[in-house]
């Protein structure tokens, strides 16, 4: 019988980060996947990043994860989104090559001596006294381990729906995991059925690109990783194309609505609101004359395009008509039809903030099994689950990122505190302190944690320290350096008052670029942006920090694990029920639970004070 420290079930984005982290942190790790060729597969859009998600990739990199580095090595277009809308919401989005990305990921994982990857299917968990002991494979073979991390993606009991057909399989007709979710249910997990979908893929030479609007990448160099140099040539980036639905398309869809899996009543899972199928869009937004679609290249190694915005569960013949109604796609050849996919997920309220399950010790879950959607959301959870599993084996406290520290913290806190009824996607609007959770400062926010757990090496950490040092020096210099009349006039400032550089930069028309020559220090592009944000928006940043202070105070008020909520007098019944179900670890978390009112929090505080006065 084999025995390892950690078993990771599933080789998607969550599984890759999880197994990388545990093995890099020194633990013998076994990654079990159904198909090695599908490691870090991108079954949906061929892109990494996007609003909020791009920042998550930076956070993963800051913590020592690998998604950013693999993306940097696999992208063929990159853009900074929201450049004009404000520094807090800037975010990278890249088109990544679907063939190259998994290859690079596999390469990255293979570098690791502690990590072994095998192809197999897991049908059950080995559990004794509510503690994990290993897994049982399809062929009843047992592999023992101290930790199991489940990152099964959409493969749990998945079904592919196209029109009235329903097949029990995973994405691309792959084999799925048929037994695991039943067995999880037996262990006490609440299983929910979720749904998502993907649009059709179109053959390259069947598209009339001449009538479509080109969407180029930025004429600049970026990297997701804080350690990488750009690995692409900006002039060689591939472009995407913009197109629209029209009245003809709408008529085809509406006339055939009952033939779709969704409206024909074949779907039981709950789909995400933010990722509606084209039929959903047309039903819910009747008055919209057209809907935007994009064609995105899938790979340099095969000639398929991803038709973003056109996800559907219509039968294939209707899909043909729909696609052919689009300008530029009149003669398009569909290489893969769109489908809806239903799969099982657990209720994330059954998880701790560390992503360990509350029911079974040393069992962790990450990614779509937790009810999320998106490669980045999955990867970040995988990383955190991996780090925490390793920390657990080292008898250390788990790494729990706060809502003011990282989007990853927001994501996990939302999941374990509020749960989710639809696949959960990160949005910048979900973060109450997004001004602090910026693209530019992810390393300053998180690298220290990566360093502490051992995923960030001395050199990487030293680079950060140097950056912080320069930052401090530049800001000090800018505070002390006053400009004379001539210098001010050059910048277009007619004023007799004395101005230092910081004050000058606060003026709306002045950019860091305009004054950089007045600062005798070498400042990287990255830092330039950061300084500009810090100085220009100092007032807002201070406001946010003040709000954070309040949150931290509440976060520091811990709730004992064994608390009996029924003993608290005057606690509302609804509050008791919610608190018992979720079992928050801090007063702050308790206060975020819907149905727990401020007066309940007061009662809770008084009770804690009374019962635990010595702690």
């Amino acid at each position: 019988m084999q025995e390892v420290d950690v078993i990771v079930v599933g080789g998607g984005h969550a599984g890759c980060e999880a197994s990388y982290a545990t093995s890099k942190m020194g633990f013998k790790t076994l990654l079990i996947t159904l198909n090695k060729n599908n490691i870090a597969d991108m079954p949906c859009n061929p892109s990494i990043g996007g609003t909020a998600k791009g920042i998550v990739v930076r956070e993963i990199d800051a913590l020592g994860g690998i998604m950013g580095k693999v993306a940097d090595a696999s992208l063929f277009q990159i853009k900074m989104l929201n450049n004009a809308k404000g520094p807090a919401v800037r975010s990278l989005r890249a088109q990544a090559d679907k063939v190259i990305y998994p290859k690079n990921m596999l390469k990255k994982l293979s570098e690791n001596k502690n990590l072994k990857i095998i192809e197999n299917s897991v049908k059950n968990l080995l559990v004794k006294n509510n503690k994990i002991e290993g897994i049982i494979l399809e062929n009843d073979e047992i592999i023992k381990s101290k930790i199991v991390i489940l990152t099964t993606g959409t493969y749990l009991n998945s079904e592919i729906l196209i029109g009235d057909t329903k097949k029990s399989e995973g994405p691309h007709g792959e084999k799925n995991e048929k037994f695991l979710s039943k067995n999880l249910e037996k262990l006490g997990f609440k299983i929910q059925r979720l749904k998502t979908g993907t649009p059709p893929r179109i053959k390259n030479d069947s598209i009339n690109f001449d009538v479509l609007k080109k969407e180029n990448g930025d004429d600049l160099y970026y990297t997701f990783s804080f350690d990488d140099e750009p690995q692409y040539k900006k002039e060689e980036q591939r472009c995407c194309y913009l197109l629209y639905t029209n009245q003809k398309t709408h008529k085809i869809v509406l006339d055939n609505l009952d033939k779709s899996s969704m409206y024909g009543g074949y779907v039981t899972g709950v789909g995400p609101r933010y990722c509606p199928s084209i039929e959903d869009k047309l039903v819910r937004f009747k008055n919209k004359e057209r809907h935007q679609l994009f064609l995105e290249p899938e790979s340099n190694y095969y000639d398929e395009w991803y038709l973003q915005g056109f996800s559907t569960s219509m039968p294939t013949n209707i899909q043909e008509q729909m696609v052919h109604s689009l300008e530029g796609l009149e003669k398009a050849v569909i290489t893969k039809y769109a489908y809806a996919i239903e799969y099982d997920a657990i209720d994330p309220l059954q998880l701790k903030n560390s992503l360990e399950t509350k029911l079974i010790e040393n069992l962790y879950t990450a990614g779509q099994i937790n009810g999320t959607s998106g490669y980045e959301e999955a990867a970040s959870q995988g990383l955190i689950a991996g780090i925490n599993a390793a920390l657990k084996l080292q008898n250390k406290e788990p790494l729990i990122l706060k809502r003011n520290e990282a989007y990853i913290g927001v994501l996990i806190d939302d999941l374990v505190t509020k749960g989710t009824k639809e696949p959960y996607r990160l949005l910048t609007s979900r973060a109450e302190f997004r001004l602090l959770l910026r693209h530019d400062n992810a390393d300053i926010r998180l690298r220290k944690y990566g360093y502490e757990v051992g995923l960030i090496n001395e050199k990487q950490y030293k680079n950060l320290q140097d950056k912080l040092e320069t930052l401090k020096k530049v800001i000090n210099y800018m505070d002390e350096r006053y400009l004379n009349q001539e210098e001010l006039l050059k910048l277009g400032i007619k004023n007799n008052n004395s101005y230092n550089l910081s004050k000058v930069l606060k003026r709306p028309e002045i950019r860091m670029e305009d004054i950089k020559d007045l600062i005798p220090l070498k400042i990287s592009e990255d830092l330039k942006n950061q300084i500009e944000v810090l100085i220009k928006y100092e007032g807002y940043i201070k406001k946010e920090e003040k709000n954070v202070e309040k949150l931290i105070n509440l976060e520091n008020k811990k709730i004992p694990k064994n608390i009996d909520y029924r003993k608290i007098t005057n606690l509302a019944t609804e509050a008791v029920e919610k608190l018992e179900k979720i079992r928050p670890t801090t007063i702050a978390q308790a206060s975020r639970i819907s149905g727990v009112n401020p007066s309940d929090i007061s009662m809770l505080l008084i009770y804690l004070k009374k019962e635990y006065k010595n702690e």
Binding site: G86, Y274, L427, S429, S602, M603
Partner: protein, 450 residues
């Protein structure tokens, strides 16, 4: 518990002197901001300091301020107590200033709760707190219903919906930048919409009768010929000698303002200089001022001497008051009624006697005229409304700061922080907080995604 809280801690608000207690880590800092005198952040602990409460450079009240530093205080936090002297109006003005400068209004029992949580008192002492907190929600519910009539609450809800819509639109622009068909909220569009919100908030402040009463009190201008008993009526109502009462015509030369509580509401009496033809310069100035006061009053109370027949001057005044929201008080003193009531039959009048203190009819008439009897929990109504006022004002200030920042070209993403604050403020007024609102709104009204 990191907020700094404040409340009027003296029981009766009718008394001339009131104590406002402030507790929390910013207590000294906040009071110092509105205090003119010694620097309260630097004075010794447990000292009493003389000075003034000021607002925009103007003195609001002459006060004594007790500064007590943590931990030897009731709550174990820094505590500052302000002894005000100006009576009801000024005490509330001071409270409002504290709220505007970063204090939060204490919940019932909150000082005691803090004393307990900070280990100052034991549980037996604090036993009653549970009940207090429990009763709070019920009170608040009543209050919300009493004090914000459905109409006003609906207006605030409507404003919140409007702000939410703008925010959701901005969020969509941010989270889905590639969707070119959606309206992009620019600085210009935002300014237009903020102007609408600002106007609406100003309307709410103006229209809200309770709000106005609470902020300024109900202003009643007393008019009448000299020596009809205006000043003695005023004195009877406020039960103290503030105006000089004589029987020499024309002695009430300045505008005298006094206040009393009627059914829990503040009523300001403005005793106008007797209106009559005069060559005396000082008296003339007084009269001009009276006319202005009449224009601005909520109610013009004309006092007629019931012991005399109507003079031409009385008849002129009767004609005049008809233009205003008015009431006539016939003061019959202890003599027989000689006034021609037949002449007054089309006027709204009440009869009373200042000497015998027969003023019930007058008071009831005022109460019913302004529906002051519709609200029961007087004290609490008052306090929450002060807080609501502060919240609405704070919202206006926040909007102004957004305007300022739009001029400075601050990106829209930053401005959402302020917009969020506006939304939160309004939510506090009608007692609603929604976390999921924004996300729901985004997906309800916008069509996005793969």
């Amino acid at each position: 518990m990191d907020d700094t809280i404040c409340a009027i801690s003296t029981a009766s608000q009718v008394a001339g002197i009131a104590i406002i207690r402030v507790s929390g880590k910013d207590a000294k800092k906040i009071v110092n901001k509105i205090f003119k005198g010694k620097n309260l952040e630097k004075v010794k602990s447990h000292t009493i300091n003389y000075g003034f409460i000021v607002s925009n450079g103007e003195k609001v009240d002459e006060v004594l301020v007790t500064v007590m530093s943590s931990p030897k205080t009731f709550t174990k936090e820094d505590v500052v107590e302000i002894n005000t002297h100006g009576g009801f109006t000024t005490t509330n003005k001071v409270l409002e200033l504290l709220l505007l400068n970063g204090c939060r209004l204490a919940e019932p029992g909150e000082f005691t709760k803090r004393a307990f949580l900070n280990g100052r008192i034991d549980l037996v002492e604090a036993q009653s707190i549970n009940d207090l907190i429990e009763s709070k929600t019920e009170n608040q519910r009543k209050l919300a219903m009493n004090n914000l009539t459905g109409k006003m609450s609906a207006k605030i809800q409507h404003l919140m919906d409007y702000i939410l819509e703008i925010r959701a639109n901005i969020e969509v622009n941010i989270d889905y930048p590639e969707y070119e068909d959606e309206l992009v909220i620019t600085h210009e569009i935002l300014s237009d919409r903020l102007n609408i919100i600002k106007k609406e908030i100003n309307n709410i402040l103006k229209e809200s009768k309770t709000g106005k009463l609470i902020k300024n009190g109900l202003n009643i201008a007393l008019i009448g010929k000299p020596n009809t008993g205006k000043s003695s009526l005023l004195n009877k109502l406020i039960e103290e000698d503030k105006a000089i009462v004589t029987n020499i015509p024309g002695t009430t030369r300045d505008i005298i303002e006094s206040s009393f509580l009627l059914n829990g509401y503040l009523v300001n009496l403005i005793d106008t200089a007797g209106i009559r033809k005069t060559d005396n310069l000082i008296e003339k100035m007084g009269i001009d001022k009276s006319l202005e006061q009449i224009e601005n009053a909520d109610l013009v109370l004309l006092i007629l001497d019931g012991s005399k027949k109507l003079s031409q001057e009385d008849k002129d005044l009767l004609k005049k008051v008809k233009k205003y929201n008015y009431l006539i008080f016939i003061n019959k003193s202890d003599l027989n009624l000689k006034i021609e009531t037949e002449y007054l039959k089309n006027y709204d009048y009440v009869i009373g006697n200042t000497l015998n203190n027969e003023l019930e009819e007058l008071k009831n008439k005022i109460i019913s005229k302004f529906s002051l009897d519709l609200i029961n929990e007087k004290e609490l109504v008052f306090i929450t409304n002060t807080e609501h006022h502060a919240l609405l004002k704070d919202t206006l200030n926040t909007i102004d700061s957004i305007f300022k920042n739009i001029k400075k070209n601050v990106p829209i993403d930053m401005l959402t922080i302020d917009l969020g604050k506006c939304y939160e403020n309004l939510g506090k007024i009608i007692g609603k907080t929604y976390e999921e609102d924004l996300i729901n709104e985004i997906f309800k009204n916008f069509c996005l995604g793969k």
